[in-house]
Each structure stands twice: as structure tokens, then as C-alpha cells.
């Protein structure tokens, strides 16, 4: 019993689910649900259909080359059952999965960092150009001028007092 990969979306096909199509050239295609099957029949290219894993990997939106991804590989030579090997493998699988998830998350975060940078710059630009929409240029200036004048008068009076 194996969990296969859907040809179109690369999702898991559990036993008892999905459809398998065998072509005249003996190549077989598995699909997880009728959505993928119908898309395939419409001759859509999974590498160009945005929601599939194939697209995401092909356009660099997800981690593709990494050592943690090399562990899961279909092997054609069977290995004889050996209890300790199986035990160790299950432990290793769990650890590898952790590491893989971390790395994938990091990859995506890095990708999105650029967006944050751009956002910041845009905000600064926006404020610089359109500040006049929420605050008139000389909004507090009148008061300032008044205060200044009052201060100046005060100073003059003080000076006069001093002179006197």
C-alpha cells in the first residue's frame, strides 16, 4: 500500500481515492480528484497552472534543492525487512520532517521579505507626495508665528525694561 502522487497537483492520493489513467504508450497518470483529472483532459500544463505544486516549484516560489528533500526518494531496489532499520528510519523520518518544514518556511519568509521592504518605501513616498491631503502645508504655522511674535514682543519689552 502506497500513497501516490497526483500527476497534476502533486498532492497525495490515498488508497481508494482518485483515478488512474493509462495511456497507449504505457505511461500511467494518477489523479487525486476530478479537478485534476478534468484539467489534464483539457491538456493543461501543470507547470503553468498556478495552484499546483509543479508551478510553484518551477517558478521558484518554493524550496526545490535541499538536502532534507533528498531523503524521500522512490527506490527501485527493495531492502529486506530489519526491525532496527525500520525503527531508526521512522525516527529519522520525524526529524527530517521537522527540519524540512523549518527550511521551507524560512525560504518563503525570505521571499516575502522583499515585499516588506517595498511596502516601507512606498509608505514613505506616499507621505512625501500627498501629505497635503490630510494636513495643509501651513497648518500650525499661524500659531507658530503668533507665538514667535509674542516671544519677540516679550523680548523687546524685556530689553526696554532692562534699558530703563
Amino acid at each position: 500500500m502506497r500513497i501516490e502522487k497526483c500527476y497534476f497537483c502533486s498532492g497525495p492520493v490515498y488508497p481508494g481515492h482518485g483515478v488512474m489513467f493509462v495511456r497507449n504508450d504505457c505511461k500511467s497518470f494518477r489523479f487525486c480528484r476530478s479537478k485534476c483529472h478534468k484539467n489534464f483532459k483539457k491538456k493543461r500544463n501543470p507547470r503553468k497552472t498556478r495552484w499546483t505544486k509543479a508551478f510553484r516549484k518551477a517558478s521558484g516560489k518554493e524550496l526545490t534543492v535541499d538536502n532534507s528533500l533528498e531523503f524521500e526518494k522512490r527506490r527501485n531496489i527493495p531492502v529486506k525487512y530489519n526491525r532496527e532499520l525500520w525503527d531508526k528510519t521512522v525516527e529519522a523520518m520525524k526529524r527530517v520532517e521537522e527540519i524540512k518544514l523549518k527550511r521551507q518556511a524560512r525560504f518563503i519568509m525570505n521571499r516575502l521579505k522583499k515585499g516588506k521592504q517595498l511596502e516601507k518605501e512606498e509608505a514613505i513616498n506616499e507621505v512625501k507626495k500627498n501629505i497635503h491631503l490630510i494636513k495643509a502645508p501651513h497648518a500650525g504655522k499661524a500659531k507658530q508665528m503668533e507665538d514667535k511674535m509674542v516671544q519677540k514682543l516679550q523680548e523687546d519689552v524685556d530689553m526696554e525694561d532692562e534699558d530703563n
Binding site: R75, Y81, R106, I124, E126
Partner: protein, 602 residues
């Protein structure tokens, strides 16, 4: 040279059939409708087409016959001679010649009548011409009746001739009638030739095939030959003679030792001497047949016809040269001994033990069936106990296959622990290098302020867009001065300007100034006005008061105005110039059937 296949000659129809076929084809495949009011060129074209079509069909069919039948000069002389013997060369050529002539005549007829048709000036004339043309063509063909019948018979016979390949290895059996040639061929090949006690059972050539030394040999059986001169020979004997003359074969002259065929040995000898010239350049074997009836040793010494007492031997002298050619190219390679080491053939141990076990009846091991019998109801088929594992106690384990959506079989690897360790090391390095540190740097206050302002700006922009969409562009266009002062004041307040000192502002001063000027104007009415426009604008009454004496009249005027507007308002018109016609009950929505869907919602 065209390759002829005697079996694939097209059927030659009888004259009547031929005519019927062609005429019905013309009727079916050409247009049939014509009226006399059509244009004359169209009528002419219509009938010309029919004539040409018929001519084309006859021509094609006759040409096919002429090409299908073989030309006696083009085929192998054996076949040419055979056909001459069977069908008479002259008659054959004549028949084909007649067909050729007929073809040419038909072409000429068609040409002439097509030329005449060009001058046909009415439907009736053209039709008559066409009738005449077709009639003549059919008469020509009717005259060829006998030729066509003859050719059909020739075709049928030709297709049934045995396929004798004149270039391959052949054995030719000849001799008196009833000496045993057909029996011989029946025995040696898979042929099934009639064998009967009367003479001339075999009336034509028969072919059988046999294998000798991995090669295919043709064996040709001929009808018997009697001893009289060539000119007296009939068709059947001539076939045998033709075969003898043209086929490069090994000749087996069969003699009946027991004289059961009805001819003495002497006669047979004489025949042999007579046809000896035909055996030139061919390996010859004399076969003494029917020796079960009379032994060779019982023959008198005078009979020296039989040289050998054999069942059968093939003489490959004819093919000798060819064999040498092949031998030159073949070479059997035997590996030379490298050293003196003995290298016997290798037989695996298992094969030896099995052989020994077969010889000795070894005790059988315990079968599953026996186990089942023993345990009865408790028996469970457990194939896992036959597994060949490294530790025997693991045989009954339940092997896990899947974990959290991953196949364990994909991860199984003898060096998985090593790889995992490397991965862990890498991970450690990465962590130390700080790759996994979360980097939300706390932004300074300035940046936060900027973000808040940017958000406000965006909201304001959206509001402006919405407002501009809401404004009424189709209504009257008000000048900018129509915006009320109050809204302006509010707006400016929102922008952060200080609105407290309103009296001292510029716009308030201006308003005061204009009012005061107007008042002053009225007091000094006697003085002449300084500019004309100002005076007129001051003295002119507003439009809804001009021409009305008192409020009562004003009221009436207003009433009349409202009255005249009532009609327009009721019809939803925008003004007196609005002549738009509304389509309040469009027909395509409220009437008629729908292509798909129901009409119970309109």
C-alpha cells in the same frame, strides 16, 4: 518491363454487359437535369460532358484490358510458348489488336461529335447528337463481342495455370503416359495429382514443392509424351515439350520396367532417343519405376536403358557453381587452445542434485496441506514464516508502511543514519549562522508615524474617488462659487488650519466690502453711475419678479409654471426638450418562446 500477375487480370465483361455498365454509369455520374430555356452554352456543355464521359469510360476499361493481358514478347519464353500452345499466339494477338482498334475508333467518334456539338443551336439538336455519339460507340463495342469472350476465357485459364518459376531449382518428370510420374510427385511433395489407371490422366503441367538440403525445389509433373514427330503432337503433349524445352531443370526420365503402361521397354527407349536433343545442357537421370512388380535382375541383358537402380538422387551439378560461391564466403571458426587447462562444460550443483533426487525417491518435506490436515479448524495460512530475513524472530512483525502522509519505503536506506547526522550538522551550522533568527526589527517611532499618515492618505484618496463618482454630471453644472462657505470652513478645519479668527479672514472682508458698496450705490441714485454694467445689474429685478405687478400675479404665474411642468414630470421628462422614448415593454423579453429555459418568469 511490366510485371504481369496472371491471377490479377481484371474480369473482361461480355459486350452486352460492358455497354450496360458504361451507359448506366454515364447516367448516374453526370448531371441529368436540363431544360430548353437554359443558355445554349450550358446545354452544349451538358451534352458534351456526357459524350466525353462515356468515351473516357470505354477508353479506360479497354486500356486496362490491354495492359493487363501479357504481351507474349515481354514474358518468359517458357510462358510465351505455353500460351502459344494453349491459346494460339495468332488468335491472341488478333483479339488484343481488335480491342485496340475499337478503343481508337471510340476516341475518334467522341472527338467528332464533340466538335459537331459546338454548332448545335437547340436542346433537341444537341440531344440528338449525343444520342448518335453514344449509339455509335456502343455499336463499335457490340462488334467486339467474340474477341471479348475469347479474352475472358483466356483470362480464366491463365489464372489457373500453375505458378512455375522458370528461374529456380526444378525437377522435370517426363516419360510415357501412365509410367508413374504423378504417383512420384504425390509421394515426394504435398501435391495432390490425379492418379488413374488410364493413360493421359494428367492433362496439363502440375507443380509440387519439396525441401532438400534446406532448399526449396520445384517438381514439375508433365502429361505423358507419345512417340511421334513434333508436328503431330496435340496440345497436351506440346505442353510437356514446352516445359522440357524452356525450363532449366534436372530431367527425370521415368521408365516403366514392368511394362504396365502398355508400352515395351524398346518403345520407351526409342522415345528417349527421340527427345534426347531436348535434354541438352540438363542433368539427366533415368528412373526405373515400378520395380516392385518386376525386379531389375529379371530383365534381359538387351535392355541397357536402366543405368542405375535407385529410389531417388538429386543431381546438384546445375547448382554446383552457385554453391561454390557461397562456400567462399563461409568460414567456421574454432577457438584455438590457449593453454593446456581442461575446461569441461559447467553443470550447476542444483541441477545435479535434482537429477539425483529424481533417480532416488527422496523423502518429501512436510507440505502445507499436511499441516492443514493436522490442525483442522485452527489452521491459519501464514506465509510470513517462509520469509528469508536476517533475524528469524522478526518474521511475525507487522511492518509499518505509512507515516503522516509519507511512505516509509521511500525513506528506507542502509545509510540513513549517516545522512541524518550530516543533515543535523548542517542544521546546526545554519542555526549558528543566524539563518533562523526571526527578523522583525522593531521600527522606530518615525516609521510608525509615517505608516499611520500613509494609511490616512490612502483612506482620503479612496474617499475622494468615491465622492467624485457620486457627483451628478448629468445635472446642471454649478460654478465653483456655489460651494457653501460652511463646507469650506469645515474642510479647512479638517486640514488643520485655525478657523477661529473668521472675521479677519480675507473672504469675510471681501463679502463685507461688496455689500457696503451696493448700499452706497442706492443712496446716491442722482449721481450718474460710473460704469454701465454695474448700474444695470443693480437696478434689474430678479427674473421671477420681473413683469409681475403684485404678489397675487406672482402666485398665479408660479401656478401656471408648475402646471406646465406637471405633464412633463408625470412622464418623467427632464425638461421640455426631452423627447426620449422609453422601451418599457421590450418585446424580446415579454413575448415569444425561449431557446432554452422556461417562460414562466418574465
Amino acid at each position: 518491363m511490366a510485371l504481369y500477375n496472371f491471377k490479377k487480370i481484371m474480369v473482361v465483361p461480355t459486350a452486352k454487359e460492358f455497354i450496360d455498365i458504361t451507359l448506366s454509369k454515364t447516367q448516374r455520374k453526370t448531371p441529368t437535369v436540363i431544360h430548353k430555356h437554359y443558355q445554349i452554352h450550358r446545354i452544349r456543355h451538358f451534352y458534351m460532358r456526357k459524350v466525353k464521359f462515356t468515351q473516357q469510360n470505354y477508353h479506360d476499361r479497354l486500356t486496362q484490358i490491354l495492359t493487363d493481358f501479357p504481351k507474349l514478347d515481354d514474358i518468359h519464353p517458357f510462358y510465351a510458348d505455353l500460351m502459344n500452345v494453349l491459346y494460339d499466339k495468332d488468335h491472341y494477338k488478333l483479339a488484343l489488336g481488335q480491342i485496340n482498334i475499337a478503343k481508337n475508333l471510340i476516341d475518334n467518334v467522341a472527338k467528332d461529335y464533340v466538335r459537331l456539338m459546338k454548332y448545335g443551336d437547340s436542346l433537341y439538336r444537341c440531344k440528338q447528337l449525343k444520342r448518335a455519339a453514344l449509339g455509335r460507340m456502343c455499336t463499335i463495342l457490340k462488334r467486339q463481342k467474340s474477341s471479348l469472350e475469347y479474352l475472358e476465357q483466356v483470362r480464366q485459364h491463365l489464372s489457373r495455370l500453375p505458378t512455375i518459376d522458370p528461374n529456380t531449382r526444378t525437377l522435370l518428370l517426363c516419360g510415357y503416359p501412365n509410367v508413374g510420374k504423378s504417383s512420384f510427385i504425390n509421394k515426394v511433395t504435398r501435391a495432390d495429382v490425379d492418379v488413374q489407371p488410364y493413360a493421359f490422366t494428367t492433362k496439363s503441367l502440375f507443380v509440387g514443392h519439396m525441401d532438400y538440403r534446406y532448399l526449396r525445389w520445384q517438381v514439375v509433373d508433365t502429361p505423358g509424351i507419345l512417340d511421334h514427330p513434333l508436328e503431330d503432337r496435340n496440345t497436351i503433349e506440346m505442353q510437356a515439350i514446352t516445359a522440357l524445352a524452356h525450363l532449366r531443370a534436372a530431367v527425370l526420365y521415368v521408365m516403366d520396367v514392368s511394362e504396365q503402361c502398355g508400352h515395351t521397354l524398346q518403345e520407351q527407349l526409342e522415345l528417349f532417343n527421340n527427345i534426347r536433343p531436348l535434354f541438352a545442357n540438363k542433368p539427366l537421370i533415368i528412373v526405373a519405376n515400378k520395380c516392385d512388380v518386376k525386379k531389375i535382375t529379371e530383365l534381359s541383358e538387351e535392355n541397357q536403358a536402366c543405368d542405375r537402380l535407385l529410389a531417388h538422387r538429386v543431381d546438384t551439378k546445375m547448382k554446383g557453381k552457385k554453391v561454390h560461391d557461397v562456400l567462399n564466403r563461409l568460414h567456421l571458426a574454432m577457438p584455438t587452445k590457449r593453454d593446456e587447462k581442461e575446461r569441461p562444460p559447467f553443470i550447476p550443483e542444483g541441477a545435479l542434485t535434482r537429477r539425483k533426487a529424481m533417480e532416488v525417491d527422496a523423502p518429501k518435506r512436510k507440505l502445507e496441506r499436511d499441516l492443514e490436515m493436522e490442525l483442522g479448524d485452527d489452521y491459519i495460512l501464514d506465509l510470513q514464516k517462509y520469509w528469508d530475513l536476517m533475524n528469524d524472530d522478526e518474521k511475525q512483525d507487522k511492518i509499518p508502511e505509512v507515516w503522516e502522509g509519507h511512505n516509509i519505503a521511500d525513506y528506507i536506506d542502509p545509510d540513513i543514519m549517516k545522512k541524518l547526522q550530516e543533515l543535523e550538522k548542517e542544521e546546526e551550522l545554519k542555526e549558528r549562522a543566524g539563518e533562523y533568527d526571526s527578523d522583525d526589527e522593531s521600527e522606530d517611532e518615525e516609521m510608525q508615524e509615517i505608516r499611520v499618515l500613509a494609511k490616512q492618505i490612502r483612506e482620503k484618496k479612496q474617499l475622494m474617488v468615491v465622492e467624485s463618482k457620486e457627483k451628478d454630471v448629468h445635472g446642471p453644472r454649478m460654478p465653483r462659487t456655489a460651494t457653501k462657505v460652511r463646507t469650506l470652513e469645515k474642510e479647512m478645519g479638517n486640514l488643520g488650519l485655525d478657523m477661529n479668527d473668521k472675521d479677519g479672514s480675507h473672504y469675510a472682508q471681501q463679502a463685507r466690502r461688496s455689500r457696503s458698496i451696493a448700499k452706497k450705490r442706492k443712496r446716491e441714485a442722482s449721481a450718474p453711475p460710473t460704469s454701465k454694467t454695474r448700474s444695470q445689474s443693480a437696478s434689474r429685478p430678479p427674473r421671477d419678479q420681473s413683469g409681475l405687478r403684485d404678489p397675487k400675479m406672482a402666485k398665479k404665474a408660479k401656478k401656471i409654471m408648475k402646471n406646465s411642468q406637471k405633464g412633463m414630470n408625470r412622464q418623467g421628462k427632464k425638461g421640455e426638450a426631452d423627447r426620449h422614448v422609453f422601451d418599457l415593454k421590450p418585446k424580446h423579453l415579454l413575448a415569444g418562446k425561449r431557446k432554452s429555459g422556461t417562460t414562466d418568469r418574465r
